[in-house]
């Protein structure tokens, strides 16, 4: 699956602007799609907005404070048809996010999966308890 995904990404990047898969709105130029990072934090805010949802989480740093990370997801339209709602993630939820990091090193990137403390796994294709429709 992952292999297919990378192949598809490669195909997409080869055809450059022609192919803006799934997101259909922009390219992956800002993300390092060759690497994947994981970070754990507390949901600060969910923007259930077009053209993409944005998830903001506060991640404890080594200075005793926290840094805010931003993650881009699919659109609410796309997700609502795949089991998500605007309250699937709520302020205060603990979450571990796997993501494609920003190329420029900024805190955040493209959301891939989210592991919740109750074991639920969220992806852009739907949550693990999402109804198959």
């Amino acid at each position: 699956m992952k292999h297919l995904f990378l192949l598809a990404l490669l195909a997409a990047s080869l055809t450059a602007a022609a192919a803006l898969p799934a997101a259909a709105h922009h390219s992956f130029a800002a993300f390092d799609i060759t690497s994947q990072k994981t970070v754990t934090g507390t949901v600060r805010q969910v923007d259930w907005t077009n053209p993409h949802i944005w998830l903001w989480i506060d991640v404890p740093n080594d200075k005793g404070g926290s840094d805010t990370y931003g993650f881009e997801g699919m659109s609410p339209n796309f997700l609502a048809r795949r089991g998500w709602t605007r309250t699937t993630l709520k302020t205060g939820d603990k979450i571990t996010v796997s993501y494609r990091p920003m190329k420029d090193g900024s805190n955040g990137g493209m959301f891939m999966t989210g592991q919740m403390t109750d074991g639920k796994v969220l992806s852009m294709m739907g949550g693990s308890d999402a109804p198959a429709r």
Partner: protein, 301 residues
Amino acid sequence: MNNAKKFRSEIVAYLVIVVGVGVPALAQQFVSKAPTAADWAALAKLPDFNGVWERSGVGGGGNPAFGTATPAAPRGDQPPAGNRGGAGPQRGGRGNGGGSAAAGGRGGGPSFTPQYEAMRVDAARAPQPEDNSTANCLPPGMPGIMGQPYPMEFLLTPGKVTIVIEAYTQVRHIYTDGRPLPEDPDPKFFGTSVGHWQGDTLVAETVGFNDHVQLARGVPHSDKMKIVERFRLMDPDTMSIETTITDPGILAAPYTTTGTLRRHRNWTISEYICEENNRNYVDQTGKAGINLTVPGTPKKD
């Protein structure tokens, strides 16, 4: 000149202006006749296109295989070009659903006449922009808008097929009332469309595209570019769209692709206001980026 005379000459001048300006404008206007009960009843004899459709291969939703958590979106079925990209919907060869190129060279892309093939090659060798203008919320033009990973609703009314496209909240109007294609249309993202029924197939012809529509990156189209789409039901909830692009002098041959749509009876069209919270951008040099300013905080430099 007395008042009456002055008034008469003003009227004459006014009529000259109205006639002179008005006639060419009126000549382009096709007046739809008021639909009768018979016109509405006739719709029932047409294939059942009404409802919400999504192109095949988007993943999730209608496909239970994607109803559980998977780390990545299936992306085999390449969406068609954006407004800065190549022209074909659902280019062939990479798909796991929905698309195959029926004609054309280069692994499914359109084939160009030598002069324009040289332009394409030059553009392909030049530094590539990192994104296209959809990142800035401009919609893809035709035919790209017909292959977005969002649903479309078809509405049949007397004399017209309307396609409400969720992506970028767009609408296409295909007039089936017998009006001709315009001879000198204003260039538009979606062009101007007329359609007619050939048996159970809706044949839509579209002309008049703006410069956002490109046949391939760096290759313009001419004002002779035309798109013919043939829509037909393959089974009760599957629609086939065959799309053929012609552009004499630029395309070496008609470029045909096919795609399929699946009907989702339990879906409705939602809004997609791209400017609502668009953090993506591409600048004039082709550099793409993302604004990661945390909501509620001052903008970062």
